[in-house]
């Protein structure tokens, strides 16, 4: 498969770009932030996303979805990244849809239909430590009658306070770091014993801490197989990682475009600052880093669509690269904008804030480089 967008994918990009830039530009984020909006996202805009087929982008057509692939999902994430749009897209359309699709079954099918219509928001409750450590699951789901009793604490749950259902990873057997014994459960956030604390984040996007205190969960809440949920978790994560990498690509390129534009406009010492070779070389180097990342991210998305079993190292490289080049892009953006870049009045700082959160989400550059080292056996 050629490592460029197909014509259909380019058209999708254009329509996503139109929708997101028009309905959810950075001003939208500022409005939600400054009004301390309780949801942190606009449900109205989410309905419009759904109408465009974006909510069900990964869902099969017979469940009301668009039946598209990760490349298309990444195309949408990129526009979300460019506009720093707070949206349920990642949690619901990527993580949620992947979980339901992979798990299969009648109930999952029904939920996918609701999800595609924009009537179901999901959230993945996975992390328990401040640094992404997916193998570490202490949250326990003890057998109890026909179902389970769930206890534990999750952190950094994106959209956790607005989700209609929580996708919770829990331990049904084994010790905290064992690979076996993991089960994925669908949990009602309104169930007794669930407490949800929304955490206001540096980037004004959604996250929550959730504790489960002896929460009763039915047997049919299980997604996939009991005790053998690890591969499902990895599949959800890989989709999430590749798509967050896409968001970082969009974010980085927008920050870069604005910086290059500023270099052509801002004058110092009687010259446009873009004339200074010191800045030119740094801008050009950054351009190269972003091009390398773009290739890696597109390939990872394509692999998820065409050869998912071999996608793992591609996804790791994509997320590692996207974190690294976004980090450089926003640091250069702020520095090259000088004092102006330090103010909340212009948007550049918002890119830096969002990039930081996306870096921590599902493993940063170091986490994924370390995975590559492990995969290669050194």
């Amino acid at each position: 498969m050629a490592l460029v967008l197909t014509e259909e994918q380019s058209m999708l990009r254009d329509s996503a770009r139109g929708l997101v830039a028009d309905r959810a530009p950075i001003a939208h984020l500022r409005k939600l932030r400054d009004s301390r909006d309780a949801d942190g996202v606009s449900r109205e805009i989410w309905k419009e996303f759904a109408a465009m087929g974006f909510a069900g982008i990964l869902a099969p057509e017979d469940h009301g979805g668009s039946g598209l692939g990760h490349v298309e999902a990444g195309v949408v994430m990129e526009e979300i990244g460019r506009n720093l749009t707070p949206s349920p897209f990642l949690s619901t359309a990527i993580l949620g849809a992947t979980a339901l699709k992979r798990a299969g079954g009648v109930r999952s099918g029904d939920l996918l239909s609701k999800l595609s219509a924009g009537d179901l928001l999901l959230a993945l409750a996975l992390d328990e430590k401040p640094k992404h450590t997916p193998k570490h699951i202490e949250t326990k789901a003890a057998r109890s009658g026909n179902g389970f009793t769930l206890s534990g604490a999750k952190t950094f749950v994106v959209d956790g306070h607005i989700a209609d259902l929580l996708i919770v990873t829990a331990r049904t057997a084994g010790g905290a770091d064992d690979k076996d014994g993991v089960t994925v459960l669908l949990v009602d956030p309104k169930a007794k014993g669930v407490s949800i604390e929304r955490t206001i984040m540096v980037d004004a996007h959604n996250a929550a801490r959730i504790t489960f205190d002896n929460v009763a969960v039915d047997a049919d809440a299980v997604l996939g197989e009991i005790d053998a949920g690890a591969p499902l978790v990895e599949a959800i994560l890989d989709a999430g990682r590749a798509c967050v990498a896409s968001e970082l690509v969009g974010l980085s390129e927008e920050a870069f475009d604005r910086t290059v534009a500023y270099l052509k406009e801002r004058k110092q010492f009687g010259k446009v600052i873009g004339e200074f070779q010191g800045l030119q070389h740094r801008a050009s180097h950054l351009y190269c880093e972003l091009e390398v990342t773009r290739a890696a991210v597109l390939k990872a998305l394509q692999m998820l669509d065409t050869d998912a079993d071999k996608a793992r190292p591609y996804v790791a490289v994509a997320k590692a690269r996207a974190c690294g080049s976004a980090d450089l892009a926003v640091r250069e953006a702020v520095q090259m904008h000088g004092g102006n870049g330090m103010t909340d009045a212009i948007d550049i700082g918002l890119f830096m804030k969002r990039a930081r959160v996306c870096q921590e989400l599902f493993g940063d550059a170091r986490f994924h480089a370390n995975r590559i080292a492990k995969i290669r056996g050194y």
């Binding site: 430590k129 640094k131 955490t199 540096v202 110092q268 330090m342 909340d344 830096m352």
Partner: protein, 392 residues
Amino acid sequence: MTDLETFRRETRAWLEANCPAEMRTPPDDEEDRCWGGRNWKFKNEAQKQWLEVMAARGWTVPDWPKEFGGGGLSKDETKILREEMRAMKCRSPLDSFGIWMLGPALLKYGNEAQKKEHLPKIARGEIRWCQGYSEPGAGSDLASLQTKAEDKGDHYLVNGQKIWTSYANYADWIFCLVRTDPKAKKHEGISFLLFDMATPGVETRPILLISGKSPFCETFFTDVKVPKENLVYTLNKGWDVAKYLLTHERDMIGGMGLGGGRPLGQIAAQSIGVENGTLADPLLRADIAEFDVDAFAFALAMERAGDMMKTKQAHPAYSSFLKYYGTELNKRRHELVMSSLGSDGLEWESERSAEGDAPRAWLRTKANSIEGGTSEVQLNIISKRILELPGA
């Protein structure tokens, strides 16, 4: 026992007796420091007492002459005082742009009346100063400033606008660069003025930063009358004063690279955990180790710079090196703090996160390599003045 050894022993004893226990812990943040000034409200009795006993001894400005409120200490004695304060973890009794910047400039360029009037008040923390240098549109090209002061016989009439004036909304007085000869070349028509921020026509407006804080202001001057005796040094020679003063600012900002604060290894170990005796994140551990090497070495470079200055071996532009390196190092430190804290470090408002202390401090550091001359300007200065590269 040499005189210096005696001095050290006595200083230690005096600090032990006079520094209140509450002043022997690091300040929580910038707001926990003592800045002084007309409207200053002490955080507690200890802060007030500590300022008073130190000011009485002249030790808020230990190396200034006694007649201007200083301690009259030699360079060696001053170093010993600082060492002993550090060893005992005594806080600075008074943080002040008057001490760090204006004072040294007045000592060198001020006339007797100006020194007598202003220096003792700085030393005692009675007047809080701010700096009127940057202007919108000028940025790194400081000398292209447009704020003008017209000669009106017995006073100057100041009109214009400054930006990035630190705490201008709290300051009592400002030291300010103004254009007094619009026809001269850009470095030659600038003068250095002092005036009261309570003068009619002065307005300040805090700037909201990405850290969510507002330590800087935009400051507007509309027909502000400044008495002529408030001109420092020669008319149209203000750039000389400005350059001298910028060097002091750079030393101060460069010093931030030392950072104090908890060791990164500890922060990371607590957040991430330890496996087989080493940090559970091996790549982060590598980056922290490399940072520690550089920070350890830079602290020594600061020490060496002090000794070079004392022995007149330092190049006059050496402070550009310290400013550049120290600020870049401090930014790196805070990136590593953020990587160590992970998602815990992303919370912006919770009590758990001390209202987002870590991310706000991280974002604050991004200004380090911009304020007081950007990193790019420092590299230009090194290229031109130290390496003597052509056209720099």
